[in-house]
Structures are given as C-alpha cells and as structure tokens.
Amino acid sequence: MSATPPEGGPRGPRVILEEPAPSTPRLDFGWEQAVVPVAAARPPGRWSGLGRVVAGAALLGLGLAALDAANFVADQFTRGPLQGWATLGVVVGGFGLLAAGAWTELRGLASIRAVDHARAAFARGELEAARAEALRWAGGIAEAAPLQPALREAGSVAELRALLEAGPLRALEARSAALGRAAAVQSFAVTAISPSPGLDVLVFTWRGVRLVRQVAALHGLRPGFAGTWALLRRTLADAAMVAATDVAVDAAARALLSNRLLEQFAGDAAAGAVAARRMLRLAKVAAEACRIVPPD
C-alpha cells in the first residue's frame, strides 16, 4: 500500500495520517435515522386523456338527464299534484337505483384496493398498519373471526403472518381449490361434448369469470363489475408470472382426470384437459390475488 505521500509540489495528492485514536472508529452517517420511514406522499391523481373523456361523457349524460328530469317534474306539478308526485317518485327511484349501483361498484373496487393496502403493509413490515388491516379483514370473514384476539396480541409482522397463514388462509386456499375443481370438471365436460371451439372459448371465459368472483367472495371481497375486471386483470398478470409447469396443478389435474368416465373422453378431448388444467390454475392464482398477505 503506497499510503506514503509522494515527493513534490503542493499540488500533488497525499495522505495525512491523524493521531491514532484510542478506539478505532468507523464513520457513521446516521443513515438509519436519516431514512426513517416517511409516509410516501401519494401524488395528486392525474387525469389521463381517456379518464377525462369518460368523466366528461358521464357528467354530460347524468347532469343533463338530471336537469331534464327536474324540469319535467316541475312541469308535471303544474299539471296537477298527482302527476307531479308520481313523476317525482319515478325520477327519485330511477336515480336512486343508479346511485346504489355506482356505490356498490365503488365499494367493490375499494375492497380490492384494501387488499393492496394490507399487502403493502405486510411487505414493508409496518406492524400497526398490518395489524389494523388484518383485523378489519378478519372481521368480515367467518373463518377468521375467532382469530381476532390473537391478532390483536401479535408482536411482530412475521407472527401476524404466521397466524393468518396457518389458520384462515389455509382454509380459504383449500376451499378455493375445491371451487376450482368444480369449475374444472364442468369446463372439461362442456369442452368434451361441445360442437365448436368458439363455444368452448365462450364457456371457458364465462366459467372463468364466475370462478374468480366466487373465489373473491370467499375472501370477503364483493367485487362489482369494475372490481371483477380489476381482479381479472390482476389474476391474468399473476398467471403470467406463475411458472408454466406448476407441480401442484399438475397433480390435481391428474387426480381429477384419472376418473374412468373421463378417461373415455380424454383421448379425443385433449382440449378439455387443457381447459380443466387452466381452471385449476385460475382458481389458485385468483386465491393468491385475493390474499391479504403477499406471497412468500
């Protein structure tokens, strides 16, 4: 090590040793304190072009319809109180149904967002946030309700996780798998006897959507239309991540299809076997997408 200063003028680089200190210190930049977790500021939601178009159309449609309806009700009142009240009732009922529908959709979306929040809390190891999410979730699920006191007492995120994974999540997984098997048998049967591949696709899609909704309901989510769409997207994205050959799914598919009756078909119904296998996988991935604890 040439830690010795070279000869030369004042411009040359050199090492200046300090007096040896009693202890050999290491520099400490206080990095641990400097980077204490700060709640990440959510950026102000930006409206994309498409978002603005949709919002504008909705505002125009609903706003104009509401104004129109109000004028019409006023007109009807000038005709007579009976007509007026009847029209008002119809208008309020109609808009009320619309609002209720929208509310359900929003709730469905929010419930899926809540899964995201819970996962984020677990991934970041924030105990209190994770506990709050876990308690809220357990409140809505029969299998998990008895676990609430234990969740309240848990001392670490790992403990919370273990509690959830050993109890309710395992049960839910098993029930999701059962739903998947039912869907698999049905789609296998339909594909085996259906006359056209186009019909197969339709049936498969319909059954797949239904399966995802069933699994979501099992996990305490009540996705509306928008929620289902979000969940499907997520499920498909996850499915792309899952290794193409999934040992658990393979085993389940083999167990299902080694039935005598089904074997009769299996020769000319390879497509059916594929469909069944996909359903099993879909159930598994959907259950993973609904879990409030992130994978591994």
Partner: protein
C-alpha cells in the same frame, strides 16, 4: 457484414416478447453494468440492490428515484430463483462482509452471477386502479472486469490481434516482466515449431507480463481477459496462446491462431451472446481517479479500453435494429468512488470523465441513445474535511484506513480535462482503500451513497 439470420430471428422474437410485456404492464429491463476491473461493479450492484430493496420497504434512501417514480413505488423483491444455471449474486453475503468488524470489500469477481428484481408500481392516472399494478423486472449481471476486454477481440483475426496486442505491450516495456516476454517473443524464429514446453513458457511469460501491466502499471486494455482471471474452472489449454511478432507462418503461429479462434468463439457463446447481445440500459463505470493517479500511460490506456468496448457493443439505431426492436435506450457514464474527492471537486471529476469518454459517448449518441455523465460513490466512506498543506488550507476527505487509523486524504487538484504531462511530475499516487462506514449487516435501511439515486433516476426513471 451480413447480419446472421439466427440472431435476427432471436432479436425479432425478443422484440415481440418485450412488446407483449409492455402491453400487459410487466416490462423487463436489462441493465448492463460495464466497467474495467476494479471499477467498482460489484460494490455498485451491492449498493444498488440494498438500496432498492430498502426503498421497497419504505425507506427514503433513494429520494431522486422516488420522485422520478412519483411516489408510486410500492414494493421491491428479488425474483425467486428459477432454473438458472448461473450463481445468484449474493447481496446479503457482500453486505455482511462490508458491515463486519473488521470490514472486508468484495474480492475480485471470478465468475458470472445474476440477480433480477421486481419493482411493483402503482399506475399513474385515475383509471390506473382498474388495471392493477405494473411490475418492472430489472435484470443485473456481475462478472470479472477483465473479461470485458475480450469483447473487442470478437471481430479480429489472430494476426491483427497479435500486432495490436504487441504494440500495446511495448508501451509497458519498462516493467521487468513485460520486457522478459518481449525478449522471448522477439527471439522466436519466423517459423517456430509448435512445441509444448516452448508454448507453456511463452504463455507463462505472457501472463506474468499482463499481471505486471495490470497490478504495477494500472493498465486495463489487456487481452485475453481469461488469462488474467480464468474463472471458476481454472486454466484450460485454449488459453495457451500469446501474440507473436510473425503471426502468419509456421506451426506455432498456426496453433496460436487456432486457439485464439476457439477462445474467441467460446467467449462469444458463453459470455457475450447471452448477456451483452441485448440490453436496454447501460451504466459505464469508470475509476477516473485511479486512472488519473496511475499516470499518463494508464490514463490513456483506460480511455482506449472503454472506447474499444463501446465500439464492440450494439447500441441499435440501424434499420434492422428498428425493425426487430433492438437497441439501447439510455447510457450513463459514471465516475465511481466519488467519495475520494471532496464535494467541490466532484464537478471537475464529472468534467474529466466527460473528456475521457468523449469518443464512446459520441458513438452511442449517433445511434440515437440518450447519454449522461455522473459521479457516484456506491458506498460513501469519507466525509469532507479541511487539511493544511504547506500553510495553506485545502479541501480534503477524511476516512478510516484499513488498520483503523483515521486519515485525511488530499486527492490533488482534479483537472477539468486530460492534463498536460507536467501534471504528473510529482510522481504517481495510489488512493488508499478506505473502510466502509458503519452499516447495518442486514442492510435493512439501505447503504450510504452519493448520487446513486440520481443515477438510477437517469437510467430507469422513464419506465417507472
């Protein structure tokens, strides 16, 4: 040169896969980290991974990257191991060694290792919630820096390589080992026999010469790379070749040429094709200060080596590349170990790096790639201090040396451009190796750095 059809098909398939991944919101980005040996690749990857993983846990250790991501970074995880036949880059082992008492820097890298990270991001926009999160996969590779210099060998025949290698070696003739090899090679007759003991002796001398160039003279443009760093399997006979003054006639020349061709082919298939044929972003790490302090010859040699590597990589921009979607989007040139100079000299360091890499930067720029120049300390080991030299206060850095002694280091005046020969008249200088600062062995809160966040924002900020 005609493009090879298999490569084209692979490029097209790759391009299609990439497009599909972008459409479903799961882009995959390969970040090529290139740097000559000791440039700081392994330390850079360790710090990058530790800090990104910490940022995924909510620590604000990469503020500029966070703001480039608009605060939408939700989680970061290593991609679980699949069926890869390569070792995984072991971040936690490196971190533990750096945090241990006494701390240890990573040893010279001797084999390839890879790791990929998944960055989970919220989508921007009001409709983003409907689509779920985006998953960005970042692929990283660590490798011995010496091997990178085999890249310029790919397009060269044995005779051309031989002449170029000998010419470069002659510049180091002052070193004893280099002189010994040059004397050996000069004494060989025109049609030397392919005799085994002769070849082994020549190879031994050649390797000693390369080692002397690397370790005593600070040269980097040394080929073939595997002779300096053979990798986990050790030496094999295919490495036993060296440049000859008469590389065309005779049995010896023929055997050397065969080995040269086999070596180049093996490096192409095992190293370059899988890892450097396609990449999306590149960080070119340069130990500017190390090269500067090693003298004018080493400084020029480093510049030449970086230019040769850039000349051999593909940056896209041609019509075939556009058709298959190949090409690099961003390249950052990075002066590493910026904690060796005080804050006020770092701009000078960046300016000097800009001159050092002017040629490759221009070549990359003409391919339509966005470039930038940065200074970086992957792991910050010093604090700024003032030292008094000859009665004059000068800006210096203060850190802990390996034995535990605290020292101030005055790195000299950093010139803004490649200096005149007079600059080196005080003799050469070797920067002492500072001890890393106090670190959390698990690296949970990240690692102190200078400028890593700005570098990452420039490299991958646009895809977040």
């Amino acid at each position: 040169m005609l493009p090879d059809p298999l490569g084209l098909i692979r490029d097209a398939a790759d391009g299609a896969e990439r497009l599909g991944r972008v459409l479903i919101g799961q882009p995959r980005i390969r970040l090529a980290v290139t740097g000559l040996t000791r440039a700081g690749k392994t330390v850079f990857l360790t710090s990058l991974l530790a800090n990104l993983l910490a940022a995924g846990r909510g620590h604000r250790t990469l503020p500029a990257l966070e703001s480039a991501a608009g605060g939408r970074l939700r989680a970061v995880r290593p991609v679980p191991a699949g069926i890869e036949g390569l070792p995984r880059f072991d971040v936690s082992a490196h971190l533990a060694a750096l945090a241990a008492d006494p701390p240890a820097w990573p040893a010279r890298t001797e084999d390839l290792s890879t790791l990929a990270l998944t960055l989970e991001l919220d989508r921007a926009g009001m409709l983003g919630g409907l689509l779920g999160r985006r998953l960005l996969t970042l692929e990283l590779l660590d490798y011995p820096g010496e091997w990178l210099l085999d890249l310029p060998m790919l397009g060269q025949g044995y005779a051309a390589w031989s002449a170029a290698a000998l010419a470069r070696l002659r510049r180091g003739a002052a070193a004893e080992a280099v002189g010994a090899f040059l004397a050996f090679a000069g004494a060989l007759p025109q049609e030397a026999p392919a005799e085994d003991s002769l070849i082994r002796r020549g190879h031994g001398l050649y390797r000693a010469a390369l080692l002397a160039c690397r370790d005593q003279l600070g040269y980097r443009f040394l080929q073939p790379g595997r002779v300096l760093n053979p990798g986990p399997r050790g030496e094999t006979p295919v490495f036993w070749f060296f440049p000859l003054p008469h590389p065309v006639r005779g049995d010896l020349a023929a055997l050397m040429a065969r080995r040269h061709a086999a070596y180049v082919e093996a490096q192409r298939v095992e190293f370059f094709e899988p890892f450097f044929r396609r990449f999306d972003r590149q960080a070119v790490l340069v130990d500017v200060l190390g090269a500067l302090h090693a003298g004018p010859a080493a400084f020029a040699d480093t510049a030449e080596a970086i230019a040769a590597i850039a000349g051999a990589l593909r940056y896209g921009g041609g019509w075939l590349d556009r058709l298959t979607g190949a090409g690099v989007a961003r390249v950052a040139f990075v002066a590493t170990k910026a904690d060796h100079v005080p804050a006020r000299q770092r701009d000078a360091l960046a300016a000097l790096l800009g001159h050092l890499v002017a040629a490759p930067q221009e070549r990359v720029g003409t391919a339509g790639v966005a470039t930038s120049v940065h200074t970086l300390a992957s792991i910050r080991c010093t604090e700024d201090a003032v030292a008094t030299l000859e009665g004059r206060p000068v800006a210096a850095v203060r850190g802990v040396l390996p034995g535990g002694r605290v020292a101030k280091v005055y790195p000299g005046e950093i010139p803004l451009r490649p200096p005149e020969p007079g600059f080196w008249e005080h003799g050469f200088f070797e920067m002492p190796e500072f001890q890393p600062p106090r670190l959390d062995p698990a690296g949970a809160a990240g690692v102190p750095h200078l400028g890593l966040d700005a570098l990452l924002a420039a490299l991958i900020g646009d895809v977040l």
